[in-house]
Amino acid sequence: MIWRNYLPRLRRFWRVSLQFRTVAITVILSSLAVGVIGAYMSVSIGSNLFSSRRDQINAEAARANLIAQQLFDAAPTTDDTNPVELQTLGVNVQNAVSSSTTSPGGTDIALLRTQGQPLTPQSLQPTSSRNFPDEVVTPEMREQVAGSPGRVLLQSVELPNAAPGIVAGSQLTVSNAGSYELYLVYDLSDAQRTLGFVQQTLFLGGLALVALIGGVTYIVVRLVVGPVRLAAATSEKLAAGELEVRIPEKGEDVIATLARSFNGMADSLQQQITKLAELSRLQQRFVSDVSHELRTPLTTIRLAGDVLYDQRENFPPATARTAELLHTQVQRFEVLLADLLEVSRYDAGAVELEVEPTNLVRLVEDAVDSMSALADERGNNLRVVAPGGYFEAEVDARRIRRILRNLLGNAVEHGEGRPIVVTVDSNATAIAIAVRDYGIGMTAADALKVFDRFWRADPSRQRTIGGTGLGLAISLEDAVLHEGWLEVWSESGRGTCFRLTLPRVRGVPIATSPIDLPPAEPVVELEDADA
């Protein structure tokens, strides 16, 4: 349960923290190494301890056998020896053997008569020291001991108190009393304790070593990661616009080089940005100055032209026509200037949206109304189809009106007198306006260029409404400023459809447009049926 909570966090930490990863890998690998070494040492020390103890026991048992045999030999027993004397001899032998071993208290002794031998005139009762663990001497061992006189046999056993032990067995011969087996049981728990102590020391030492390695790695990684982290934090600040942040440069090492090159980069970035900001500021100033400087004389010209135009009836025909031309061309100049200024304002990034709640359906209807006189003149039937969009959208109404004026103007100009359908619809994320004409259309290649400045579909084509060639470029900028889309579909002979899609709520990205592009064709039928 707790694992389930911690595991993802640990995994994330692993992914995120280089420091954690490095320390973890180091600790795991060094634990493996220390573990292997420790295990090897523990095993080899253990086997060494055991074999040296066994050799010692072997030698001791042989000596004990020798002493016992000598004692028996020194007291030759005859057929009529008193059994009590013989018994005393057995006890003497037992004592002598006991005192000859290195660990007197720890060794148990048993003297057993070998089974299956013919009856002898005398016999020694089996004797054993107190607490002799009879069960450790197995019948198999006794058989082996009986079958190999003059040799000491050793066998590892488990003592009744669960300690490891060794039983040493050898054969004795007592004259007139047959052969006997001498068993010595040695307790190895002292060796076991030594081994345990060594293992514990190894384990604790290994643990300390791993912890030490982990700590050292942590510190080293920190030394290296620290500056990198600082560099990352500093570049984040730099990206956020704090152009004056720098990394402190200390020393001559690779970290200092990193700091120096980073600071160099920051310096040049700051210079570039300051320069660009200055350029942009100059550009905006220029736009503003041009705006004033050009508009004032243009206003004078306009006023003069209009005064002349108003009196043209009093002029001779040539002068009257001149006044008319002056009037219309000044107007055209004015529109062009306004568009140019708008474009340069966009280029300088000096535009701001003035959003207000606007009912786009009503706005579209207004725009269509103001265009209907011109459309009627061309025989276009302007229609609004609005399945959706009846709510207040947060848009800059002036800019949307301007986009619509451009799109409608284009549609009327290139619509060949056929119907023009304006569709308004909305969905969860967006509201869209599409202007569809069934006029001459364009090739796909041309459609790609419609938003280019001063681009004309066909230079020879007569311009009657008289756009500046900047209208669609500005419309696109207006749409982008709203975080919206302005797209076109067109096909030669089938007409054109412009679709403007705006986010329903400011700042919430558009998922899909509510109107299809290329346009769904049933619109034509509906329109034809209505017309």
Binding site: S288, S291, H292, R295, T296, P297, L298, T299, T300, I301, R302, L303, A304, D306, V307, D310, E334, E352, E354, E356, P357, D366, E392
Partner: protein
């Protein structure tokens, strides 16, 4: 400071033509505007720089001021504030910029209306005529709006016995609301009725002037009782009494 002259003193007599002070540093434009104004029957007076504009205003006592926003010496916004401190005479700004901040600053300094260069003569004259037209006289002589008394023929607004000085534009705005206390006015309606725009114009004109009006007539402008906001629609008069 003497009381603000309300109404249009010269034109009221009917014998004299309205005098218009044109403050513009571009002499060609000023002269051209002069020609247009004379053709329309106005009498233009000229001033070419900002620092002399206020003196020229005090000397000539014009009926209306056409004020360029960018002037040498002192900028148009300052000049406008100086004139407003002294008089309620209509001020129309001539601006080369349609940039939001300049227009709003101009309106906030007290200009009644603005015309963006390049303008045509008809547009300019229409704006001037709207500002010079006499206030439509109501059927009643005195109206109530909130706790204010509006004396229509006398062009006076009082709260109790205290007189509140309004410019003619502010008076007209208040009057428009007071004449139809039940009506909610959209910004477009007010633009048409008070400013004489018959097409969609800049609604900031209404917003800024409502603010200025409230600053004068409301006891607490943040919590208006006279000029009420109807959210999403526009404004209406506060109930009287």
């Amino acid at each position: 400071m003497h009381a603000l002259p309300l109404g249009v003193s010269n034109s009221k007599t009917g014998t004299m033509t309205a005098r218009i002070l044109v403050v513009d540093d571009d002499t060609a434009l000023a002269e051209m505007i002069g020609i247009v104004l004379r053709t329309e029957g106005f009498e233009p007076i000229f001033c070419a720089d900002g620092s002399g504009a206020f003196a020229a205003f005090m000397d000539s006592k014009p009926d209306l001021v056409l004020l360029d926003l960018m002037l040498p010496g002192k900028d148009g916004i300052q000049v406008c504030a100086e004139i407003r401190a002294e008089s309620g005479v209509p001020v129309i700004m001539l601006t080369a910029k349609s940039d939001t901040s300049d227009v709003v600053r101009g309106l906030e300094s007290g200009a009644d209306d603005y015309v963006v260069k390049p303008f045509n003569p008809k547009e300019l004259v229409a704006r001037i005529r709207t500002r010079l037209r006499p206030t439509p006289s109501g059927v009643t002589d005195t109206l109530q709006i909130g706790d204010l008394d509006v004396d229509v023929p006398g062009h006076e607004v009082r709260r109790g016995s205290a007189k509140i000085n309004l410019t003619p534009l502010e008076f007209e705005l208040l009057l428009a609301l007071a004449l139809k206390p039940q009506q909610v006015f959209t910004r477009e309606m007010l633009l048409e009725q008070v400013w004489g725009y018959h097409y969609k114009a800049d609604t900031r004109l209404v917003n800024v002037h409502v603010q200025r009006l409230r600053a004068k007539v409301e006891e607490d402008p943040d919590n208006p009782r006279i000029v009420m906001t109807v959210r999403g629609v526009g404004y209406r008069a506060g109930s009287s009494g």
